[in-house]
Amino acid sequence: MLRSLKLEPEKCTGCLQCEMACSYEQEGVFNPAKSRIKVFTFHHEGVFAPYTCTQCDEAWCMHACPVDAIVVNAATGSKDVLNDVCVGCKVCTIACPFGTVNYNQDTGKVIKCDLCGGDPACAKACPTEAITYVDADQTGLERMRAYAAQSAQISPGS
C-alpha cells in the first residue's frame, strides 16, 4: 500500500517541529531553512499551514529534468533527487507548479521531500497530528466522515 503525507492546517500550531525533524533527518542539523516541508503562518487569519511535495504521479520536476536526476522510488512512490546526477540547473524548481522543489545553495543541488524512504520524520515529530502518513487512496477519509456525520444530523428524518 502506498502512503501519502496528509496535511491538516486546522490542527497545526506552527511549532516547526516538522521542519527541524526534516532537516535533522536529511541534513543532520536542526535547520528549518533546509527543511523540505514548510509551515506558513497567515497571521491575520490565525492560520498555520504545513506544505510539501505531494509526489505527483506525472511529476513535472521529473519530466523537466534534463539529466534524469529525479527518479521514482518504487517502494514509496516518492520522486527522489539523485545527488550525484543533479547538476543544479534548477529547471525542476521552475517546472514544479507547487514550489516544493528548491535549490540548496550550500550544495549546488536541489532538494525535495523524499518521504524519508517511507518513514517521514515530519509526521513522527508533529505533536498535533497535523501531519500524518496515511493510505494514499484514503487521504479524504476523515473529511468524508466529518461530512457524513454532518449530513446525518442535518436531515435526521430523511
Partner: protein, 616 residues
C-alpha cells in the same frame, strides 16, 4: 556542544560588529541565556551606571537548547540594567527570533555604546551590519516589521524591535519579536531605544548542530515530549485555554488582586477568562479566540490568537485591528481587567493588541492605570492632569484611551509611561504604588498566596511571577500541594523555585514545561546536548549561582535588603473577602529564614562562604 561558541559584539558608538569566541568557562558555570548573559553584564558594566546611558549594555542571548528539537527550545532573553527598577533585568521571550539567531550561528549579541542616529542590525549568518533606521524611527512595531520585510524582500526574516512607546521614553517598554511575542518586562525596550537601536533583523540558514550525543539527545527530547503529551496541564489545559485558564481559579481562591489591589476578588472575572474567550460573541457569533499557537519548537502551544468584534467601540472604522493577532495571556488580562475593574473582553484584547503594536508591558501599564484610577477617585488626580480623561475604575474607555496615549507617549500617556511608582510619588501617595523595587505586580495577591509575597519581595527584577512561581504549588498542587495561607516552609519553597527557574531559563527552555517536567526530565536533555555533566544537582547549583550573581549585581547597584519588601497595603490592610479574609502577607515571618537558607547575612548580603561555595 549545542552552544555555537560564538558571540557578536556590536559597538553602536563606532558602528563595528565583531565576532568573538564564547567564554566556555562561563558557559559551564552559567549554562546559557539568562545566566550567561547576566555573567557577561556583571563583568562588563558598572552596576551603578545610568540604565539609559551609553554605559549600559543590551544583550540578546539564546540558550544551548534554543533552536533544537527540545520542546519549547526557542527561548531567548534580553539582559540589561533596567531603567524601571535599577536592578539587573532579564526579559524572556518565545516566538522565533531566538532560534533564528542560533541558526545564524550566534549564542549572544552584545550591544554597547550608543548610535549617533537610529540604526538596526541586519544579521544574515556570518554577515552582520548596522544599517540606517531613520525611516523606521517613529514607526510602530508592526509597521517596522512590515517595512523591514519589504526592504529586504525576505519573508523569512525574523525581527525584534521597539515601538513608539520605547522611543517616547516609556519606562516599561519591551522588545517585541515576531509581531506579538515580547521580552516584555522591566523596560528592556526602553534601553534598546536609548541606544538608537530600532530593530534586529535575523536570517539564519546554518542550523544548529554540534549536539554532543545526537542519538541520546533525540531519545531524551522525545521522552520529555511524551511527558508533556501525557500531562493534562500541558496537553489539554494550556493549549485549550492558555494561561488564561487561571482567571477563574485565582479568583476562586480569593487571590485575584482587584482595583489596584484593594480587593482580592473580581466580580467580572468570568467575563474575561480563558473560558469566555471560547464563547461566541453576541454581536457576530464568533469567539474571541481564533486558534492556539506555538512558539518555536513548542509542543504545548499555549499562545492565543484572537480577534476583536468589528463593531466594538474600540475598533469601529479601524479595519487595521479587524484581523487576528496575539490575544490575552492571564497576566495581561488581569492587569488590564481585574486591576482596573474593566470586564470588557474586547476592550482588553484591543489594549493587548496596542501593547504589541507599540511594545509596552501590559502588566506594568494596567497596574499603572489602576493606580491612576485610585488617585483619580480620591480626587488627587484630576481631569486637568489627565487631559480630560475620567480615570474611573471599570471604565473601558479610560483604559483604552490611556493605552492609545501611552503607545506614543502623548499627553497623559507620557506620565502613565513612567510607571505607577513615579506616578504615585508625583501625586503624593507613594503608598498606592503596587510595586516592588519599582516594578508592578503580576496577578496573584500575596495575602491569599503567602509564598508569592516572599517571591515578589526577593525577586531580582522587582515584582514578578516568573522568578519563583510558587502559585504552582500553593494553588495548583504542582509538583505538590501546599497551603497558600501558611508561611511555614515557604522560604524553602521559594528558594527551590527561584533556583530551578533560573536553570530552566538558562537552558533556553520555557518555564511552562515545569508544570509537567521536573529537573529530572530536563537534565538528560541538556546533558545529551552539552559537555559538562549536567545532572539535576548541577542544574540546581547553577540556578543558585545565577540567583546570587543577580543579587550581587543589585547590591552593587545600590539596593539593599530593605528593598526586599512589599507595599504597605499588602502588609497592613487585610484581605476583604475569601479564604484570606482578615489576612495580610506575613513577609516578616518568611524573610529571615529565606536569608538564612540562601546563606546571606541578616542584611540580605551573601556571606563569604556562600560566595566561595558558588564560585562567585
Amino acid at each position: 556542544m549545542a552552544w555555537t561558541g560564538k558571540i557578536l559584539r556590536v559597538d553602536l558608538s563606532s558602528g563595528t560588529c565583531i565576532a568573538e569566541p564564547l567564554n566556555m568557562e562561563w558557559a559551564t558555570q552559567y549554562l546559557g541565556q539568562r545566566g550567561l548573559a547576566s555573567k557577561y553584564l556583571s563583568e562588563e558594566i558598572d552596576p551603578t551606571v545610568d540604565a539609559l546611558s551609553a554605559g549600559n549594555k543590551f544583550i540578546m542571548v539564546t540558550g544551548p537548547l534554543t533552536g533544537t528539537m527540545a520542546s519549547t527550545g526557542g527561548r531567548y532573553s534580553v539582559v540589561t540594567k533596567s531603567p524601571l527598577t535599577g536592578t539587573i533585568a532579564c526579559s524572556n521571550s518565545g516566538g522565533f527570533i531566538g532560534a533564528e539567531m542560533k541558526n545564524a550561528g550566534w549564542d549572544m549579541i552584545i550591544f554597547e555604546g550608543k548610535a549617533d542616529s537610529p540604526v538596526y542590525l541586519y544579521l544574515e549568518n556570518e554577515k552582520a551590519e548596522l544599517l540606517p533606521a531613520d525611516d523606521l524611527w517613529g514607526l510602530s512595531v508592526w509597521a517596522t516589521d512590515e517595512a523591514l520585510h519589504r526592504k529586504h524582500q525576505d519573508p523569512q526574516l525574523r525581527i525584534a524591535c521597539v515601538g513608539r512607546s520605547a522611543e517616547a521614553g516609556c519606562l516599561y517598554a519591551g522588545v517585541i519579536n515576531d509581531l506579538h511575542r515580547a521580552a516584555g518586562r522591566s523596560g528592556v525596550g526602553t534601553v534598546m531605544a536609548s541606544k538608537n537601536l530600532k530593530a534586529v533583523a535575523v536570517r539564519g540558514t546554518r542550523g544548529v548542530g554540534n549536539i554532543k550525543d545526537p542519538v541520546g539527545f533525540m531519545q531524551a527530547t522525545e521522552a520529555a515530549k511524551q511527558v508533556l503529551a501525557d500531562n493534562a496541564v500541558t496537553s489539554q489545559g494550556l493549549p485549550t485555554y492558555g494561561t488564561q485558564v487561571l482567571m477563574n481559579v485565582i479568583n476562586e481562591v480569593g487571590a485575584m488582586p482587584t482595583r489596584n489591589m484593594r480587593e482580592v476578588r473580581f466580580e467580572g472575572a468570568s467575563n474575561i477568562s480563558g473560558e469566555a474567550m471560547h464563547e461566541p460573541r453576541k454581536s457576530d457569533g464568533k469567539p474571541n479566540l481564533v486558534t492556539n499557537a506555538a512558539c518555536f519548537g513548542c509542543t504545548i502551544a499555549c499562545g492565543r490568537i484572537s480577534t476583536i468584534d468589528k463593531g466594538h467601540f474600540t475598533v469601529k472604522n479601524k479595519p487595521e485591528y479587524w484581523g487576528a493577532s496575539g490575544g490575552l495571556e492571564y497576566e495581561a488580562a488581569w492587569a488590564l481587567g481585574s486591576d482596573t475593574g474593566v470586564d470588557d473582553l474586547d476592550a482588553l484584547t484591543y489594549v493587548n493588541f496596542l501593547c504589541n503594536e507599540d511594545g509596552f508591558d501590559p502588566i506594568s501599564f494596567g497596574a499603572t492605570v489602576a493606580a491612576a484610577m485610585e488617585l483619580f477617585e480620591m480626587g488627587v488626580l484630576t481631569e486637568k492632569d489627565t487631559g480630560g480623561l475620567e480615570m474611573r475604575f471599570g471604565s473601558a474607555e479610560a483604559l483604552t484611551r490611556s493605552a492609545e496615549l501611552t503607545m506614543t507617549g502623548e499627553g497623559f500617556g507620557k506620565e502613565l509611561g513612567l510607571g505607577s511608582k513615579r506616578l504615585c510619588e508625583k501625586y503624593g501617595h507613594p503608598e498606592l504604588s503596587m510595586t516592588v523595587k519599582g516594578q508592578e505586580f503580576p496577578a496573584y495577591d500575596p495575602r491569599g498566596i503567602q509564598g508569592m509575597g516572599l517571591a515578589y519581595a526577593t525577586s531580582n527584577r522587582g515584582a514578578c511571577h516568573l522568578r519563583g512561581y510558587t502559585v504552582s504549588s500553593e494553588v495548583m498542587g504542582i509538583p505538590e500541594k501546599t497551603d497558600p495561607l501558611v508561611t511555614d516552609g515557604k522560604a524553602g519553597l521559594v528558594k527551590a523555585f527561584q533556583d530551578a527557574t533560573a536553570a530552566v531559563d538558562s537552558a533556553g527552555l520555557c518555564i511552562f514545561t515545569t508544570f509537567a517536567w521536573t529537573l529530572a526530565d530536563i537534565a538528560p536533555q541538556i546533558d545529551a546536548a552539552c559537555e559538562g555533566g549536567w545532572t539535576m544537582e548541577k542544574l540546581a547549583e547553577v540556578g543558585e549561582r545565577i540567583w546570587n550573581l543577580e543579587r550581587d549585581f543589585n547590591l552593587a547597584a545600590g539596593l539593599t535588603g530593605k528593598d526586599d519588601t512589599l507595599p504597605k497595603r499588602l502588609l497592613k490592610d487585610a484581605a476583604n473577602t475569601g479564604p484570606a479574609q482578615g489576612r495580610v502577607n506575613e513577609l516578616d515571618k518568611m524573610l529571615p529564614e529565606y536569608y538564612e537558607l540562601r546563606g546571606w547575612n541578616v542584611e540580605g548580603v551573601p556571606t563569604e562562604s556562600t560566595r566561595q561555595r558558588l564560585g562567585l
